[in-house]
């Protein structure tokens, strides 16, 4: 208990000095089982894709494998040492694709999950620890809490220095996002974030899928009181909402929105405000909902400020790729990551 209190104290102290002090300083970690000492943790299993991205940026050398399949296009931006990590499957209660026996074979010191866990997931994690004896750590996964997540997890996994470096960067970026939101508070841009092949699926306002939009103070047009998951909408509803911008991560949708005649009545399509966010090595706006979305914050801010093609964004992206992803830094590759970002007319 003592270490935990100390940790909390440290975290709280750090916050009072930052512009993010308004975020309640609380522990974002929950764990089951006995955690090894931070220095003794060498093997970490990522329960799902958000945790994998988180661990890859924080403790890459301790990551045991990827819970998702990564295509060569994604792997091109991953550090060579983690490019060859095996696909190990994910742990998600009944939806798990890794068997407990292969989990034991991998012999992780700790299992880490990131996301907003409900009672079902918590009890599944408890049971997992009881069954296997491996400690599990659940990190609350809001994008706005990224600095705290990094610091707290860094302390736990023996990577304080790396965590601090990443947390400082995130803090600055989030503070910029808040300033951006304040500046546009009078008249926030209205956005629609299209998903799926028909573009009529969307992360509703308040869901983890539209955090980037809301962090920047934008108005997510798709609202449904009492429901914050993914929903379906109709084109008629979109015509009624008339968003200022259409965002997507799916180039197929851009093709559809710019060619299908029914979409041409949307003012965002008429004015060429259909934008496809890059999704390499991980989705910039969403998918998975992890720290990868910090890139989406940079990208969306540049988009709304009309400097998507400017040198500033390219430089910021290059900085992020080298700091977070430790990407083999070649500008040609970065350009290809930015390529789907096209303004349509």
């Amino acid at each position: 208990m003592k270490r935990r209190e100390l940790l909390q104290g440290l975290v709280a102290g750090a916050f009072l000095l930052t512009p993010l002090a308004r975020v309640v300083a609380k522990t974002l970690l929950e764990h089951n089982g006995t955690l090894p000492a931070p220095a003794a943790i060498e093997r970490v299993f990522a329960a799902g894709p958000p945790a994998a991205v988180f661990l890859y940026v924080l403790v890459p050398e301790k990551l045991l494998g990827w819970p998702m399949h990564l295509a060569p296009a994604n792997l091109a931006f991953i550090h060579p040492e983690q490019q060859h990590l095996p696909f190990v499957g994910r742990l998600a209660g009944r939806g798990s694709t890794v068997s407990l026996e292969s989990l034991l074979l991998l012999a992780p010191d700790v299992i880490v999950d990131l996301g907003n866990a409900g009672a079902t997931q918590r009890s599944a994690a408890q049971r997992l620890t009881q069954q296997t004896g491996i400690a599990t750590v659940q990190i609350e996964g809001l994008l706005a809490h990224t600095p705290q997540q990094l610091r707290q997890a860094g302390a736990l996994l023996g990577a304080r220095q790396r965590a601090e470096e990443l947390a400082l960067y995130s803090e600055q970026l989030l503070a910029r996002a808040l300033r951006f939101a304040d500046k546009h508070a009078q008249k926030p841009p209205k956005l629609y974030f299209a998903r799926s092949y028909d573009g009529l699926e969307t992360g509703l306002a308040g869901s983890i899928h539209s955090e980037v939009l809301e962090l920047l103070g934008c108005e997510n047009v798709a609202k449904q009181s009492g429901h914050t998951g993914i929903g379906q909408v109709s084109l008629e509803q979109l015509l009624n909402w008339q968003p200022d911008y259409l965002l997507t991560q799916d180039p197929e949708f851009v093709e559809l929105a710019t060619t299908a005649s029914a979409w041409q009545s949307l003012s965002a399509v008429q004015t060429g405000r259909v934008y496809c966010a890059p999704k390499l090595p991980f989705g910039w706006l969403d998918g998975p909902p992890g720290v990868n979305r910090l890139l989406g914050v940079l990208w969306l801010m540049a988009l709304l400020e009309g400097r998507l093609d400017g040198p500033q964004l390219k430089q910021e992206v290059a900085e992020f790729f080298s700091l977070f992803y430790r990407s083999p830094n070649s500008s040609a590759r970065l350009l290809s990551a930015l390529e789907p970002t096209q303004v349509l007319d």
Binding site: A92, Y197, Q249, S265
Partner: protein, 344 residues
Amino acid sequence: MPQPASIDVNRSLPAYVKVMLMLVAALLAAIVLSLLIGKFPLSLAELWQVLVARISGEPLQGSADTVIWQLRLPRILAAILVGASLAVAGAAYQGMFRNPLVSPDILGVSAGAGLGAICAIFFNLPMLLVQLFAFVGGLFAVAAVYALASLVRRHDPVLVLVLAGIALGALLGAGISLLKILADPYTQLPTITFWLLGGLHSVSLADLAYSAPLMLLGLTPLVLLRWRINLLSLSDDEAAALGVNLTRTRLLLIIAATLMTASAVSFTGIIGWVGLVIPHVARLLVGPHFSRLLPVALLLGATFLLLTDTLARNIASIELPLGILTALVGAPFFIYLLARGGRT
């Protein structure tokens, strides 16, 4: 052509005509209602202007014209076509399989279409290919079931068809589940789930342009053979005694029903309940004679799906999957009808 029970038919003709007239009126009323309400607010006057302008050959520019002609009307037409197709296919199958629990997907068309569509979603293919994969998957599944069933000769052919359909359906269902497990849980899985729940929210004129002819093509043999389909409820021996080759009629009916269902499912996803419940309601209204059951089921299915879809697009600020609403609306209505029918 033999016309069994033709005396019966003539005797209750006025009642039948009355039912038909009421159903046509109900469908027309549903169309008007559906045109009038939607998420994009349009006044009656605007609606009228838009309709008149387009008919007189000088379409208005602007959102109102798009909402009516590109969104609401295609969606209304799609609801009518899909509802009619599923109900008619269900009515034909229930007669042919002599089983009231049979729905149009008994021979695996939905499972096949589902696996096809989900494969396309899994490999991030564009919309057109999702629809094509679904259509082809549906046709393949039924063809496989039919081929499988014709290999077995010693049993009742209808029973063998049903069993083969169930077996292949389970196999395809396993494939669907496997892809769901492998799909990206943050991007693909929701899309797959929505596809499996069905919906008309993305219908466009282009979808209708390919599916409407296919559905009508499937409907034609059913209309032409409406008398002969009654004979399918006889056993093969009894029918042979009447000089009718049931195997060929059955095959034709399966092709027709599959064509209708597969082309509907290809752009709507799986919509349950219509093909199961509507034939029963139709039978309660006009009896089991297929020449009467067909038009009644057709109109009922069209009206039911149109009203349900109107509900689906107006009940909340997001769309509710149609598959959920058809069950929510259809099941209580069905229970009510059963209870009422039981008393009289």
